[in-house]
Amino acid sequence: MLHTVNKTLTEKPSLLSCLRLAGAGSDILLIEDAVYSAIRGSTGARLLEQSRGKHQLFALGPDLECRGVKAAQLIDGIEVVDYAGFVALAVKNDTVHAWL
């Protein structure tokens, strides 16, 4: 299953819920403000680092770029994808769940 998360933990606990409930082997894509959670040292990043190995983690490149976040700032294990990559993840997984 592909899970999309679009908010930081300071705005909504959706990342927390996602990481708690997503089944092992799920793909998790951070979009919109949620890409901030992939920055090394952030609260979200610490949670994501704990789930590494259980889930495959992705961040939407255009949302990183428009927020001035460089790939070098991200924790290890995050794959940056573009919108075509988002579509490819949606095609690969038979269900897409948005944590809103």
Binding site: P62, Y83, F86, V91, D94, V96, L100
Partner: protein
């Protein structure tokens, strides 16, 4: 592969409509198809024909209209959500005794069942909101 898209937020305040538009564009560029876009809750504000954003800003509504024209996408607003928010078709305006109709002609008015039908027709349903 066929995609069905649900948008729960309006333009400009939130990024959901922008993300959904970029995703939908990428769906077609990747050789797939968006069969339906259903606008729900505040998402119905994406369907007003009266939006007049500054010329140096993106026109979210016009962008959806262009994509729908280019790829023959079925775009619909939820009937209850749009009536509540004053996004009215000619028929809705007439029935509600309102002088102005503002629903762009590229959008139809439909019940939530239309979205569910889209989910049945499509291989994937993707939701965008806040």
């Amino acid at each position: 592969m066929k995609f069905n898209i649900l948008i729960n937020e309006g333009p400009y305040t939130h990024q959901a409509s922008d993300t959904a538009f970029q995703f939908a564009s990428a769906v077609f560029e990747s050789g797939h198809e968006v069969v339906r876009v259903f606008f729900y809750h505040d998402g119905v504000h994406n369907a007003t024909r009266l939006g007049a954003p500054p010329v140096d800003d993106r026109n979210v509504i016009a962008r959806w209209v262009k994509l729908a024209e280019d790829y023959n996408i079925d775009m619909a607003v939820c009937v209850a959500a749009s009536l509540r928010r004053g996004v009215l078709s000619d028929e809705s305006a007439s029935q509600s005794g309102r002088a102005i109709a503002n629903l762009d002609q590229h959008f139809k008015v439909a019940g939530f069942g239309h979205f569910i039908e889209g989910a049945i027709i499509a291989d994937r349903t993707v939701v965008f909101g806040d």
